[in-house]
Symmetry: C2
DNA sequence: CTGAAAGCGCTAACAA
DNA sequence: TTGTTAGCGCTTTCAG
């Protein structure tokens, strides 16, 4: 298989281990005391003012005389002082921090949402921190616990919080919460999402309308994917197609599992004329495998993906896929969190943003 | 172009907006007071003990009598109480939190590192939070500030901190820092990375040894990419190849920019016989464009990527690429942070983990 | 415009 | 095993 050519590190670089103290002397102006951090009192003493003046310089500069302002700022810059946010948060509640919980960073699925969320929050003066829960429920609980402990101004969840424990803690914390990427009549607090079941229905209807009669599902097996499958099968029954065979793959879905998936499906269901893949990456794998086998797409095999990644439009043939407006989810979630954090009521607590099928060349 | 079929939300779901209070009544046992959060004192009162006993139940359960333990735990579970971590952190320093700063979640580049970091920290009882800095320097400073304020037990940086302001704050905070994915003789604190310049050299040497004589660089234009280019050109000169033409693309690198990049390169340099792409995604675009033009890979065009994404091995032809052991970077960074957070010294503060060229079929 | 006092919620240290 | 006291670093409040 693949040959591997390793480049080992250069010995000279290995020897370059400067000590931190030495380096410190090079970059920061005076060595300064207190290696474990300054407090407002230290800065106050160095600037010859009181702690309150330092605090005001940082938070309400308009209430401080120009002279004091300049002096304090000089000391702050020289020392690299950063106020302790835990102490501040303890006293003044507002944290300027919103936390998002994602199951994984692997999938490019949430990228658009995260980017929009991050940007929208940034514009309103909040920072976004992301926690990765993995697909493990206990890890998710631990992460949620760690997040609630920090008392962020809001929490955005990718998906719906199912654990009753988690729901109770979220509720008790009083922190604004937005669940996303799914729909439920009973959100913890607010919700911006769409129906996975209806995606399944829509894709099935779409394939049928294009003349495909023997569709197969190539899908991850998580709960949302299962609801898309259920929607698809429901529509298949309505249209008289019978149950579509389903081939489940491990999460995360990859190009490799797409190739292997198509191979497996063709082995057991050679009549297959269309595939609904639960991610664009899976669909790309299918496209490549089809090409390797000389199968024409969409002629002999129709392929529909999910996610509308950047690559979908650039493929050959361009990929027909389901697009979810992740940017809108992120922006809306940010808006809701900030509104609530600043005491405004949110009128519509549940928003269904729908989805689109982007019809390109592959089906 | 693409037709778009939109599925609008069902009206019935829009109407399903239960109020939060109503829902709360459904899931949490008793309605409970204090909508804005409980304190240890509330829990203490409800359990008929002192605040300290509640604190001990949470942190040192072995020092509490079974009876008190059970009572307190019952109240905690019933109320969904989560202690205020800011207050705790203020008192006891240890936060149980490590922060990572990534330029972007877009690239799959750091996925392996983040996963390994997250897992290694988890095993040691720490949570990882990720901040996304974007490619904007002012955003990065704001993010860094927000992170230092929270006083995490450690900070992991993707890349090197160049801003003197940022360096000073990091140093002054006394928080253990690991810079990654690059090399410098003057890290802020600790460093786990590799040399981008040597990657450029190695790939040039590799292509030359495979008989390619007219290589072109298809690359992002960030600073690390520029150093890879410089390394490549240096080796090209040494080997008597002359300067390799360079085609820069916007970050983030995409499949689409890979396709467009190859088209542009062939228009200006039709003699090109090999391409070094600064990401696997770019390389995939090149592969697809080459195929669309009937160019054989590796026969007429050699292609080398960077990153060794999962998809590299599954492509047709399989992609020759540069692999960086992201898992090792993440694990090592976690180890270092935890060691330092718990008072142990780290012997080697600078680690160069090198890289490998994975030779597959595309070059 | 500036400072002194008080206290946010929690836990280390001590006392019972 | 349990409770009391004090104080982490900051900012709100109130007085100067």
């Amino acid at each position: 298989m693949a040959r591997r050519l390793a480049w080992r590190p250069a010995a000279s670089i290995m020897r370059a281990g400067h000590s931190r103290a030495a380096h410190r002397f090079i970059t920061s102006p005076p060595p300064m005391k207190k290696p474990q951090g300054f407090t407002v009192h230290d800065i106050a003493r160095l600037a010859g003012v009181s702690a309150m003046t330092v605090s005001r310089t940082l938070n309400h500069p308009d209430q401080v005389s120009p002279a004091a302002l300049a002096k304090v700022r000089e000391v702050v810059a020289r020392t690299g002082f950063v106020p302790n946010g835990m102490a501040r948060g303890l006293r003044s509640a507002k944290a300027g921090l919103v936390a998002a919980v994602l199951p994984t960073l692997v999938g490019p699925v949430f990228q658009e949402t995260v980017r929009a969320l991050s940007q929208a929050l940034d514009e309103r003066g909040y920072q976004l921190m992301i926690g990765q829960s993995g697909y493990d429920a206990s890890r998710e609980d631990a992460l949620l616990d760690a997040i609630i402990r920090r008392r962020p101004d809001g929490i955005v969840l990718a998906g719906i919080m199912h654990s009753p424990e988690g729901r109770r803690q979220l509720l008790a914390s009083g922190i604004p919460v937005v669940e996303t990427w799914d729909l439920t009549p009973t959100p913890v607090d607010m919700l911006v999402g769409f129906s996975h079941e209806r995606i399944g229905q829509a894709v099935c209807y779409f394939l049928h309308s294009r003349g495909y009669r023997r569709p197969v599902l190539l899908s991850a097996g998580d709960e949302r994917a299962r609801r898309r499958i259920a929607g698809f099968q429901g529509m298949a029954a309505t249209l008289g197609l019978g149950q579509a065979p389903t081939h489940l793959v491990e999460a995360p879905t990859t190009l490799g599992s797409g190739r292997a998936g198509l191979a497996a499906i063709l082995a057991t269901h050679p009549q297959t004329d269309a595939l609904f893949c639960s991610s664009d990456m899976l669909a790309l794998g299918v496209l490549i495998e089809a090409q390797a086998r000389g199968l024409s797409v969409p002629g002999q095999l129709g392929v529909v993906g999910l996610g509308d990644l950047e690559l979908a439009a650039s493929l050959q043939p361009a990929l027909t896929t389901v697009r979810i407006d992740g940017t809108r989810i992120g922006r809306t979630a940010a808006q809701y969190i900030v509104d609530r954090a600043e005491g405004r009521e949110v009128a519509e607590k549940i928003v269904d943003i729908g989805f689109e099928i982007i019809e390109r060349a592959s089906a």
